[in-house]
Symmetry: C2
Subunit: 133 residues, 2 copies
């Protein structure tokens, strides 16, 4: 069942707000790390590199949760739960990480690219949302 991100929390995606992305390890235990995020057509976009723990986790089990706090007020936050679907490896994912570098760092090109690194873009369609503040 798709859910909608409440309109009054959409501003978080215009700010430099990090998403704390929780995925599930092969053991069934949770893992969580902060990531850049973006909104497109009501879905949360996250970008990672092929082979990282969260990439491997999302490929195996697409269920994720994201907590996104307002950088100006940590008591105001959005939680999104849903399934992560791979959108692209390279190409669109490369363009997207450069857009995120612009948003979060003010630079035109993502500066931390490692040799051989393949960027992967995932789209999370919300199935549940909750908010605070």
């Amino acid at each position: 069942m798709p859910a909608e991100i409440p309109e009054k929390f959409l501003d978080l995606f215009t700010k430099k707000a990090f998403a704390n992305l929780a995925t599930v390890m092969p053991s069934g235990h949770p893992q969580v790390t902060p990531v850049w995020c973006d909104l497109e057509d009501g879905c949360v976009l996250v970008n990672t590199a092929r082979g990282r723990q969260k990439d491997r986790n999302m490929k195996r089990d697409p269920h994720v949760a994201l907590a996104i706090a307002d950088p100006e007020n940590p008591y105001r936050y959005l939680e999104v739960r849903g399934q992560a679907e791979e959108v692209s490896e390279g190409g669109i994912a490369d363009d997207h990480i450069d857009r995120m570098a612009k948003k979060y760092m003010g630079v035109d090109k993502y500066p931390y690219r490692q040799p051989g690194e393949k960027r992967v873009l995932y789209r999370v369609r919300p199935e549940h949302t909750s908010t605070m503040g």
Copy 2:
């Protein structure tokens, strides 16, 4: 296997740094919300109220993950994975939430207590840590 939080990240617990606490839902899917946190004897302490989703999740499946970012630098963070063990309901948990209110809000008493709310204190003994920055 217990793990230690790297010494150079212990300062996070002296700052008003939030922990993004990931737990596992009955469905096996992850859930994540920001919480206040504290360090004691190498373990991360988190305080919730009896009956909340994360309380129910941790009682059923103690495996959790926490991402704790430096409020002064979001690119510097600590991830802790481990098992949450209940320390106290009321009593020590009540004293702890007041200490957290002091740390995060500068007040002597936790101001958001609801009628009938029972505070619960959990201790997470690290089994895995990773850091960035």
